[in-house]
Structure formats: structure tokens, C-alpha cells
């Protein structure tokens, strides 16, 4: 936890805690004292984001978003996408597709024998494959990471 000091100390100036060096006694060995920690036996592991966000490490890739056709799905310009290629793309998944040799992120719409890539921003039209054109899905987006200024 960070403590934020008031203006009592001049910023950026180190200040000695004691005016003179003071001898400190050092004891060798361990000292058994107090009660054993009640948390020790439970052995909790700190949450690891890699475990939470990545289920298939060999099949997971990151991409950076450019553009705002997906803002209503919570995906904005500059976000980082987590993409899992081990997941079979289905209706409703947010996917990365290859359109005219470029990567594009859209929602996969697959109903009544019709397939299209739907934007999540009314200003952008859906992408409907032309007759005979195959729609290539590169991977399924599992998470979007937003970065805030700190």
C-alpha cells in the first residue's frame, strides 16, 4: 500500500532518521515465538492472470486493436485482445477473421444458413461474404484488456 505524504517533508530530499549512526544488535539463529500462522496450512496461491485468461497456452495469441467498430461490445482502439485458436467458432462469438488479407475483429453471426461478421457500432456495416467467398476465422476472442493512464 502506498502512503502519500503531506507537504511537511520537502519532496525529494532524503532525511536521516537518526542524527548519528546507531549500533544495531543482530541475533543469530531463529526465534520461535507467537502462534503459527492460521493461513499456512491452507496454502493459498495468489491469483495468476495467465491462468485466468489463458486456457490453451500453445493456441493463445495477443493482438492490438485499431479502430472503433466494436465499441458497443466493449472493445476499443488500443485494447489488447486475447485470442484462442483452440476454440471452435460459434454463433455469437467475438472472432478475429481474415478479410482481404487483413485481420478484423467482429461478432460471428451464423443463423438460418446465413453467415456474416457483425460490427458492434451502428456506424459500421456488417461484412457479408460474397457468393462463393469463404469466411476465414483466425481465432476466437476470449478477453479484451483495456489499458488506463496511470
Amino acid at each position: 500500500m502506498y502512503s502519500i505524504f503531506s507537504a511537511a517533508l520537502p519532496p525529494g530530499r532524503p532525511r536521516a532518521l537518526l542524527p548519528r549512526p546507531a549500533p544495531v544488535a543482530v541475533l543469530g539463529g531463529c526465534v520461535q515465538a507467537g502462534f503459527p500462522s492460521p493461513a499456512e496450512e491452507l496454502g493459498g496461491q495468489r491469483v495468476d492472470l495467465n491462468h485466468v485468461l489463458i486456457h490453451h497456452p500453445e493456441a493463445t495469441y495477443l493482438m492490438r486493436v485499431r479502430g472503433d467498430s466494436m465499441v458497443d461490445a466493449g472493445i476499443g482502439d488500443g485494447d489488447t485482445l486475447v485470442i484462442d485458436r483452440a476454440i471452435k467458432p460459434c454463433h455469437g462469438h467475438v472472432v478475429v477473421a481474415v478479410v482481404d488479407n487483413d485481420f478484423t475483429v467482429k461478432t460471428l453471426w451464423q443463423r438460418d444458413g446465413q453467415v456474416k461478421l457483425a460490427a458492434a457500432n451502428p456506424r459500421f456495416p456488417d461484412i457479408v461474404p460474397r457468393e462463393g467467398q469463404t469466411l476465414e476465422i483466425w481465432g476466437v476472442v476470449t478477453n479484451a484488456i483495456k489499458h488506463f493512464c496511470v
Partner: protein, 436 residues
């Protein structure tokens, strides 16, 4: 039963995963310093570009045939290799990673249809990594390798082999007659362990195809050729002679060399380069927990610049005591360079090789009365450990020996990599972009 799995045109395939526009085009990956072709797409092969061909020889195809030439992006290839190898390793009890793009799998004791399994594994690797692979199966390493060659060729040249053998070829599951057809269509030089010279001698003796070789008398073969060839023959007959090597063996020598971006004339620049390579080699040495007993430095001019005066020199500096200390290794390398250097030549390449490697655990101490007089500085193991840890955490070259010139703004001997694609999977600032 063993399998040999390898990535098709591996480096090119890695590039295509992140640049879909490269599909269907002739693509070539160039070696360090944009020197020679080290990976070619099928379209590039069809244009007649050879493996190892110098870039300046086919540069004109860039304009006339739309060839795309890329600088090698080894960070990307290394990461993609890890992904492929990890996926493959899950399906077999034993795995030997043989090179960046190929591995042996050992299915000993595993029942079931291995062809069906490997077709499914192949599809999984392609789906999850985008890398197409081919699989050869057989009871020995040599047969698995040969099966892999047939699987690859059957995919690329359908007139040569039956289409049923494309992508996955199991030599151990075929009838003797089917095998005979494949072996008659395969030149003897394609067999693992038979190099161009032995192949030429075999051809002269009337042995052209694999079935010719198998029809040959083993005893006669042993008399006229080496024991190695007899072993290859036994492997082809289905008797295993080569075991799977699970653990990566410690290397017997460590080499670090590069061609320069521009030719170098002066000694100070060469000292920087040699110091950098010696430092890098020392890092690799410590990673495999070895000590080096000698340091070899090598420098040469550019043999393709035929009008330049040519020079090539090697100098080996033995060490009084084997070490893994960067500073001592750099000192020895620079001493060797100074001995090998003659002014007035346009140097194009230098290299540092650490020789006489031994495990750090059984190091022979020198006798004290030999060392007396100029007692060597003690090795600084903790310092080296700290240096490696910092360079790993904060990036290569955070801490370096000063003679590498790492802090100088202009090091014109550094590698030329004008055409390298972003390191899409290993650098946070170089992730591929996706349009929204």
C-alpha cells in the same frame, strides 16, 4: 513405432500465420544479415530458388516475379516452434526435439491406428498454430525420416508418389509390395545419413534407388563403404540402431558468429564485435552449466567480393584454467583477434567459438605451483549469475563488458535485418494489429 514430424517450409509458414497476404505468393526467408535463402515457400521453389542461394543472385525476381524476401525473425520462429513441439509432445510417451522444426515421437506400447491419430494431430497443430506439418512413421528413425520425405513429396509432387501417402506416410503399416513401389521411386540420396558424396559413389556402383540399396548384399556393402552405411541399411530393413535421445545433450562447442552489415576495416570495431559474441557465447555456456578450455576467434573477408583481396584467419587461445567467466573469455577472444588481425582488409565476418567444453561440476584444478607468480583472479560465479539474471529481466545487454561498445550510439558492424517482420508473439510492442 516412431514418428518424425516436421513443419513444412517452417520459417515461411511462421511468417504466413501473421501475414495472410503472403499465402499464394513466392516467399523466401533470408539468413542473418540478409545473406542466403534459408526457407522457401513452394511457389519460391517452383521459381527455381535454391536452398542457400545468395540473395543477390535472385534479387531480380522481387520485381519480375513478385518474390517477397524477409529477414529471419528467429524470436518468432522459436516461439512458434515451442508451441508446435508442446502440442506434439502431448500425444506420445517419448519425444526428441531434433531441430527447431522437427521432432521424433515414440509410440512404443501404444495401441491403435497411428495414421488416424497423426492425421488428427496434424489437423490440431494446423488449427492451433497455423503451421502445416508432415508426418513419417516407421519402426526405426531412418524409416520414420524416409516416410516423412515421402509424405512431403507426395503432397508437393503428386506424380511421384501415390496421393494416399501425402502428409502422413506410415512405412510400417504398408504391405511389402506397397513399400517396394515407394522405395523404387525414391533416390538413395534421400535417405537420412547418406550424404551427396556417398550417394554419388553408390550411384556409380549401380545403386540408384532405396530398393536397389535394400537388394544389395550387406557384407559387400560393409567392405566397400563405412560401418555407418551398414547401420543405415539395417535401419532401413527395420532393425532399430539409433535410440531416441530424450534429453537435449550438452553441446560440445558453442559458436557465435555473424556477417557484418557493412565491411569493417579497423581493429576497434572488430574488438566490439568479438567482445559481443564472446559475451553471448559465455551466456550460453553458463546456461548449459559448462566451462570452456579454449577460445577460438575467426575472421574473414567477403568471398563474394571477388575484386577485394581475400583473407581468412583462425586463432585459438587456450585458457590456463577452464572458465565460464565472461570477462576472462572476452579477454582471451580479444587476444586471439589481435593475433589474427592484419590491417588493410575489408572484413565481412567474425566468429567466436568456445571449445574444450566440460561440465562445471568436474573441473580440474590447476596445480598451485604452476599458477603461482601470476595467480589468476578468482572466478566470479555470483557476479555472472547476477549479470545473467539482470540481462534476462531487463533485456539483452543491460549489463555488458565495456569492450562490446554496447553504449556507443553507432555500431556499424551490427546485423542487417532490413526486412524483418515484427516479433508478433514475444514483444509487447510488436503485437499484430487487428482492425475493428
Amino acid at each position: 513405432m516412431l514418428a518424425l514430424v516436421d513443419g513444412n517450409n517452417f520459417y515461411v509458414s511462421c511468417e504466413r500465420v501473421f501475414r495472410p497476404s503472403l499465402f499464394g505468393r513466392p516467399v523466401v526467408v533470408l539468413s542473418n544479415n540478409d545473406g542466403c535463402a534459408i526457407s522457401r515457400s513452394n511457389e519460391a521453389k517452383a521459381l527455381g530458388i535454391r536452398m542457400g542461394q545468395p540473395w543477390h543472385e535472385f534479387r531480380h525476381l522481387e520485381r519480375t516475379a513478385g518474390v517477397v524476401a524477409l529477414s529471419a525473425n528467429f524470436e518468432l520462429y522459436g516461439d512458434m516452434s515451442h508451441r508446435v513441439m508442446a502440442l506434439l509432445g502431448r500425444h506420445a510417451p517419448g519425444q526428441e526435439v531434433y531441430s527447431i522444426d522437427e521432432c521424433f515421437l515414440d509410440f512404443q506400447g501404444l495401441p491403435g491406428d497411428l495414421v488416424a491419430l497423426m492425421r488428427q494431430v496434424r489437423a490440431e497443430v494446423l488449427q492451433q498454430t497455423g503451421i502445416p506439418v508432415c508426418v513419417g512413421l516407421g519402426p526405426t528413425k531412418t524409416l520414420a525420416k524416409l516416410g516423412n520425405h515421402i509424405a512431403k513429396s507426395a503432397e508437393r509432387k503428386p506424380d511421384r508418389y501415390p496421393a494416399s501417402q501425402a502428409q502422413v506416410c506410415h512405412l510400417g503399416a504398408l504391405s511389402p509390395r506397397q513399400r517396394q513401389v515407394l522405395f523404387t521411386a525414391t533416390e538413395v540420396g534421400e535417405v537420412w545419413g547418406i550424404g551427396p558424396q556417398v550417394a554419388a559413389r553408390l550411384n556409380a556402383a549401380g545403386v540408384h534407388t532405396v530398393s536397389d540399396l535394400l537388394a544389395h548384399d550387406a557384407a559387400a556393402l560393409r567392405q566397400r563403404f563405412s560401418v555407418v552405411l551398414t547401420r543405415t541399411l539395417r535401419e532401413l530393413q527395420g532393425t532399430p540402431c539409433l535410440a531416441l535421445e530424450d534429453a537435449v545433450q550438452a553441446r560440445q562447442q558453442i559458436k557465435c558468429s555473424r556477417s557484418f552489415g557493412a565491411s569493417v576495416l579497423d581493429l576497434p570495431s572488430l574488438v566490439e564485435a568479438v567482445s559481443t559474441f564472446a559475451s553471448r557465447a559465455a551466456e550460453k555456456l553458463r546456461r548449459q552449466a559448462s566451462l570452456a578450455g579454449a577460445v577460438q576467434v575467426y575472421l574473414r573477408t567477403n568471398p563474394f567480393r571477388t575484386h577485394d583481396e581475400q583473407r581468412s584467419r583462425t586463432w585459438t587461445t587456450p585458457l590456463a584454467r577452464p572458465t565460464d567467466d565472461t570477462q576472462r573469455l572476452v579477454q582471451a577472444a580479444v587476444r586471439g583477434l589481435e593475433a589474427a588481425y592484419t590491417a588493410g582488409y575489408r572484413y565481412a565476418k567474425v566468429g567466436v567459438t568456445l571449445l574444450d567444453l566440460q561440465a562445471a561440476t568436474h573441473c580440474q584444478e590447476e596445480l598451485p605451483w604452476i599458477a603461482s607468480g601470476n595467480a589468476p583472479a578468482p572466478d566470479r560465479g555470483p557476479l555472472m549469475k547476477a549479470m545473467d539474471a539482470m540481462n534476462q529481466r531487463y533485456g539483452k545487454g543491460t549489463i555488458a563488458v565495456a569492450s562490446t561498445g554496447a553504449t556507443r550510439p553507432e555500431r556499424h558492424w551490427v546485423m542487417r535485418q532490413e526486412r524483418r517482420t515484427p516479433r508478433y508473439t514475444t514483444q509487447w510492442d510488436e503485437l499484430p494489429e487487428v482492425r475493428a
